[in-house]
């Protein structure tokens, strides 16, 4: 195949692909594997039809025997697509060519092209959802670990980019965890609705299957381990839109996390940093740079995925019983979203695995903020002895002086004539210690971790399919 040398989409780039997707995900959507899937779906239908007496048993057996891409002439298929402009027929003709005798006459017996392609697309989505579920669960475990490890680490909380009040890093992470777990639940619900077959014929009446249509649908679905839908969904594409929307939600949560890490990695803040190892180069001209590029790439992928979700809604608007303007849109959106989300999850796993937590900078920032954010507490503490109004006046003056002269507030306070001798430095320091102003941070963190852990136990291990190139034995495997 001459075009093996052309890799013009970034996804297929031999240099940059890794930033956008994974080998594993590319394998799911490899065009050869796609044909292999179509033919497997056709073969499953033939077997079910033979069981129900719709076609002869020998024909189904003969078809199944050759239901593999390795037997087919791919060049003839490519030429056929050019001359027929049909996406499926050339494949079926090539298959017919290699089947013995009259068996080929029973290929694609009563199905419509979209039955085969939609069902195959659901099989692709199933593979992707398995990867997403596996990775998402792994990330949930990583996040649990972070939340537990840093449940007590005091950090400054920020609103409107400004230092607001203290909290713990554990709580910040627990909020991520809570959101992530809702995404796991969304994923489960999405799987329930989306993983269905399609086998209803031209306009969804099952007319060509006689009175065996429903039984055929049921057996066909069982063979492919999919659920059977109630009606045809040729022109009812909410499932595709739900998949795209769910992936957009998942990736947006990660974009938010990646952006938080990026923000906290700013030179002036320096609290978190994505993993760094010697040899990683931030800039081609500024040798000192360490850039949060993995986090930025996560945001790039999330933006692409989000844009596809909007196209998913466009795809719901179908005309009459079939509308290619919607279906052909999915061929791109579902493929791209799937490839991108796998790339995104893989990046997040790497980021979280070795996330650098600069505890010293975290402490430094919170200490800087401490005086400002705890002035109220300080005022009430002093007020008990010297009266609240007096305390307000003193704390106000001292705060302003501390800001202007950059002297520590406690030093100024302890030297103040009305304070000196009346309070111990220890008590004052305890009062403004940010540790004493983190509210329920730790309880909230532990509560969330416990909740997710309990549910995580209840979910079984993920099923994973092994995927290898259908043409590996013919030596035409390009990714090997």
């Amino acid at each position: 195949m001459a075009n093996c040398e052309l890799n013009s989409h970034i996804i297929d780039s031999r240099f940059y692909s890794g930033g956008y997707t994974t080998e594993e995900a590319r394998r799911v959507f490899c065009d050869k594997y796609r044909y292999q899937r179509w033919i497997e779906v056709e073969a499953a239908m033939a077997s079910a039809q033979a069981d129900l007496g719709l076609i002869p048993k020998w024909a189904a057996e003969a078809l199944n025997e050759k239901a593999h891409l390795r037997y087919l002439d791919l060049n003839a298929i490519r030429e056929g697509i050019k001359t027929t402009s049909h996406s499926l027929l050339p494949l079926l003709r090539a298959w017919q060519e290699v089947c013995d005798g009259a068996a080929g006459e029973f290929i694609h017996f009563g199905a419509t092209t979209q039955d085969i392609q939609d069902t195959a697309q659901v099989l692709e989505i199933r593979d992707i959802l398995a990867i997403v579920e596996r990775d998402l669960t792994a990330i949930v475990r990583q996040v649990i670990d972070l939340a537990e490890r840093y449940s007590g680490l005091v950090i400054i909380g920020r609103t409107h980019t400004q230092h607001a009040l203290s909290m713990t890093l554990g709580l910040k992470v627990a909020v991520w965890l809570d959101e992530l777990w809702r995404n796991v639940e969304r994923l489960t619900a999405c799987k329930e609705r989306v993983l269905v077959s399609q086998l209803f014929g031209g306009v969804g009446t099952m007319d060509a299957f006689g009175d065996k249509g429903l039984e055929l649908l049921s057996q066909f679905s069982q063979r492919l381990k999919l659920k059977a839908p109630l009606t045809a969904w040729h022109a009812s594409r909410d499932r595709g839109a739900e998949f795209l929307g769910t992936m957009a939600m998942i990736s947006s949560t990660f974009a938010k996390i990646a952006n938080e890490i990026r923000c906290l990695a700013r030179s002036e803040t320096g609290e978190l940093e994505e993993p760094f190892q010697m040899g990683k180069v931030g800039s081609s001209t500024m040798p000192h740079k360490r850039n949060p590029e993995m986090c930025e790439q996560v945001i790039v992928l999330a933006r692409l995925i989000k844009a596809n979700a909007a196209l998913g809604f466009e795809g719901i608007i179908n005309e009459h019983e079939r509308d290619y303007r919607a279906v052909r849109l999915e061929w791109v959106t579902i493929t791209d979203t799937s490839l991108f989300i796998c790339g995104l999850l893989s990046l997040i796993k790497s980021i979280l695995k070795d996330l650098i937590i600069h505890e010293d900078r975290i402490r430094e920032n919170v200490d800087k903020a401490a005086t400002l954010i705890s002035t109220e507490a300080l005022m009430f503490f002093l007020g008990e002895t010297i009266g609240k109004q007096t305390a307000h006046k003193i704390v106000y003056e001292i705060s302003m002086e501390a800001i202007e002269t950059s002297q520590p507030l406690v030093d100024l306070l302890m030297n103040h004539e009305e304070i000196e001798g009346k309070f111990s430095r220890e008590d004052v320091e305890r009062t403004i210690d940010p540790k004493n102003h983190v509210g329920m941070s730790e309880e909230l963190t532990h509560r969330t971790v416990a909740y997710v852990k309990k549910r995580l136990l209840a979910t079984g291990p993920c099923e994973e399919g092994e995927r290898s190139c259908p043409l590996s034995d013919r030596g035409e495997c390009c990714s090997a």
Binding site: H160, A164, R266, S267, M286, H288, E296
Partner: protein, 458 residues
């Protein structure tokens, strides 16, 4: 009963300005429709299509105060046509049966499209005025801070020294291009519509072209021979132009928002006297206006999408597209003008902390001039080799907590290659600003040259 935030009365003008709200006010809109009908009657009398007395009567009654608005309102409850109840209202108050000559040979969309252009003309005039003011403000700011040193950032990380003036002229250059776009958009936009039901002008009679030209002339608009009922690229262009404009504001506002971070503190938007930032944290000072600008820009971009989509008309008229545009254009215009007004407020009162800029520039000490060092060493070591070496030294410094300068000096390879004067240069990052000052001066000069050629008004 205002239920859209644009119209809120208790907390008004968060997402609008009184001036823009007035442009799109319902009664103002109806009055414009009546103005169109009066202009049409006048033109038709001049060309002998209808009696002069009819035109005079229509002209004298084509004012909302003359109409029974209650009846017009009742009419709208029963009719699904956007214009007829108002036309009927006008017809009824015209004496001697002259009402029969109202809306003579034209179509609803002629009236509404022309009135939309009148609205957009007012909007563009406001936008042009405020953009010019914003440009002046930014140019002043750029000149004032021409050589104020600060750190430039890439990937959110400190990169190299620059000047605040250079950052501001970059904004100014975008604003300049928006001013030029606004003028171009206006050139393509200021056409009325008067072509009858399917654009053939059939019911306007033999003098159709002359009637159309005269009518639109009275309204101060030009006439296009060809109807644009279903050809709305100029509206799409306006939406895209506004979208680009507010996105520049969003970028500027975000820059202020980021540089106002507690840890950075280089810029801050002007605070209102006595404003309370947080209901629970007394020390807070929030960049509120900048965030509003970002929010408005997000809406404008999405509304622009809807408007561009409305270009895909079917046949000679497509209400699905047209109504989509009707709903989106007022919001798009009001949000754009409001974001612009906010931007002007922020830039006019922007607080610039020269001290914090300096402090942050020195945060990483010598590291910030690593590029300068790279090119110093390149002469002897070769550039790629130096890059590798300095990369190693800067990471060693970061990881071991020693200064970058020290790590360079102590390294046998690099330490030997640098004189003590050269090492001293590392303490003065503000010197490593390349051609920044020249770039600022030239850009200011170029923009001011173009400004001088611009008319005061559109």
């Amino acid at each position: 009963m205002p239920s859209h935030p644009i119209d809120f009365g208790i907390n008004p003008n968060v997402f609008s300005t009184p001036e823009l709200a007035q442009v799109f006010d319902e009664k103002t809109r109806y009055q414009r429709w009546l103005d169109f009908e009066a202009a049409l009657a006048k033109a038709q009398a001049e060309t002998g299509v209808i009696p002069q007395e009819a035109a005079d009567e229509i002209g004298s009654k084509a004012s909302l105060e003359c109409l029974d608005l209650e009846a017009v309102h009742e009419g709208y409850l029963r009719s699904r046509n956007s214009l007829m109840p108002l036309i009927n209202g006008l017809r009824k108050v015209c004496k001697k049966g002259y009402g029969e000559y109202v809306h003579y040979g034209t179509t609803t969309q002629d009236v509404l499209d022309t009135a939309e252009i009148l609205e957009l003309r007012e909007t563009l005039a406001i936008v042009y005025r405020d953009l010019s003011a914003l440009e002046t403000t930014c140019l002043d700011l750029a000149k004032r801070h021409r050589s104020t040193p600060m750190v430039a950032r890439t990937h959110g990380q400190q990169a190299l020294p620059t000047t605040f003036g250079l950052k501001v002229v970059t904004w100014s250059s975008e604003i300049r291009r928006h001013i030029e776009r606004t003028r171009e958009m206006f050139q393509r936009l200021a056409f009325g519509q008067l072509s009858g039901a399917v654009g053939t002008m059939a019911a306007l009679g033999p003098h159709a072209m002359e009637v159309a030209r005269r009518t639109l002339d009275i309204l101060g608009l030009r006439h296009r021979t060809l109807a644009w009922h279903s050809s709305r690229d100029h509206i799409g262009e306006l939406a895209c132009g506004f979208s680009l404009m507010v996105t520049t504001f969003a970028k500027m506002a975000n820059e202020v928002f980021q540089l106002q971070k507690t840890e950075i503190g280089e810029l801050s938007e002007p605070a209102l006297e006595g404003a309370v930032a947080s209901s629970t944290m007394p020390h807070k000072k929030n960049p509120v206006i900048c965030q509003r600008i970002v929010v408005l820009s997000r809406h404008v971009r999405h509304l622009a999408g809807t408007i561009v989509e409305s270009m895909a008309h079917e046949h000679e008229r497509d209400a699905r597209c047209l109504w989509g545009e009707w709903l989106a254009v007022p919001q798009l215009s009001i949000h754009t003008g409001t974001a612009l007004k906010y931007m002007l407020d922020v830039m006019s009162g922007l607080e610039v902390s020269v001290d914090r800029m300096k402090e942050n520039l020195h945060l990483h000490k010598a590291m910030i001039t690593s590029e300068w060092l790279l090119f110093k060493l390149s002469h002897t070591m070769g550039k790629m080799k130096s890059l590798e070496k300095l990369h190693e030294l800067s990471n060693r410094a970061t990881d071991t907590g020693i200064s970058f300068k020290q790590s360079v000096m102590e390294d046998p390879e690099t330490g030997a290659l640098l004189t003590s004067e050269e090492m001293e240069y590392l303490d003065h990052p503000e010197r490593y600003i390349g051609q920044a000052l020249e770039i600022v001066d030239q850009t200011v000069e170029e923009i001011e040259g173009k400004r001088a050629l611009n008319p005061e008004e559109l």
